[in-house]
C-alpha cells in the first residue's frame, strides 16, 4: 500500500481516487442539505398544526426542487463562462 510499486500520491492512485469519490458524495450531500433547508423555509409555513404535508406544501416542494436545480445550472454555466473569459 502506499510506497512499494505504487505511483505516488497523484490522481492515479487509489487514495486519491477514494478522496475524489468521497468529495463527489460530499458535494451531492451538501447540495441536498442546502436544498432541504431552502425549500423548508420557502414552502413549510404553517409548520406543525398537522403532521401531514398539505397539498399546497407538497406542490411547493416539488417546484422548489425543480427551481433549485435550474439555479444550479445557471450558476454552473455562468462560472464556466467566467473561467473561459479569463
Amino acid at each position: 500500500l502506499p510506497g512499494g510499486g505504487a505511483p505516488g500520491y497523484g490522481m492515479q492512485d487509489p487514495h486519491a481516487q477514494f478522496a475524489a469519490a468521497e468529495q463527489e458524495l460530499e458535494m451531492i450531500t451538501d447540495m441536498f442539505t442546502r436544498l432541504g433547508e431552502a425549500c423548508q423555509k420557502k414552502c413549510i409555513l404553517q409548520r406543525y398544526s398537522e403532521e401531514d404535508l398539505t397539498k399546497g406544501e407538497s406542490v411547493c416542494l416539488d417546484r422548489c426542487v425543480s427551481k433549485f436545480f435550474q439555479v444550479n445550472k445557471e450558476v454552473s454555466e455562468k462560472l464556466t463562462k467566467l473561467s473561459q473569459a479569463n
Binding site: 487509489p14 468521497e22 458524495l25 460530499e26 409548520r47 406543525y48 401531514d52 416542494l61
Partner: protein
C-alpha cells in the same frame, strides 16, 4: 483502473466508504431534525420538563420533517438523474 490491486478489495473499500457516508448523512439529518423541532416547538423556560403541547408539537414536527425529507429526496433523485443523463449526452 487500479493497476496491481484486486478489484474486489477496492470495491469493498468503496462500499465501506459509501456506508460510512450514509451513516454520517443520517446523523446529520437526525441532529438537524432535533435542533429544528426544538427551535420551533420549545419556547417556555419556566419549567425544565416538556409540556404536553411542546411534546405534541415535537411529534408532529418529526413526522412532517421526515415526510418533507422523503418527498424532496425523491424529486432530488429524479432531477439528479436527468442532470447526469444530460452530462453524459454532452460528453459523447
Amino acid at each position: 483502473m487500479f493497476g496491481g490491486y484486486q478489484p474486489s478489495f477496492e470495491q469493498q473499500r468503496m462500499q465501506a466508504l459509501v456506508e460510512q457516508k450514509q451513516m454520517k448523512d443520517f446523523m446529520r439529518l437526525y441532529s438537524t431534525l432535533v435542533s429544528r423541532c426544538f427551535d420551533d416547538c420549545v419556547h417556555d423556560f419556566n419549567s425544565k420538563v416538556l409540556s404536553e403541547n411542546e411534546t405534541s408539537c415535537v411529534n408532529k414536527c418529526t413526522l412532517k420533517f421526515m415526510k418533507m425529507n422523503e418527498r424532496i429526496g425523491q424529486r432530488f433523485a429524479e432531477e439528479n438523474q436527468k442532470l447526469m443523463e444530460e452530462q453524459a449526452k454532452q460528453s459523447r
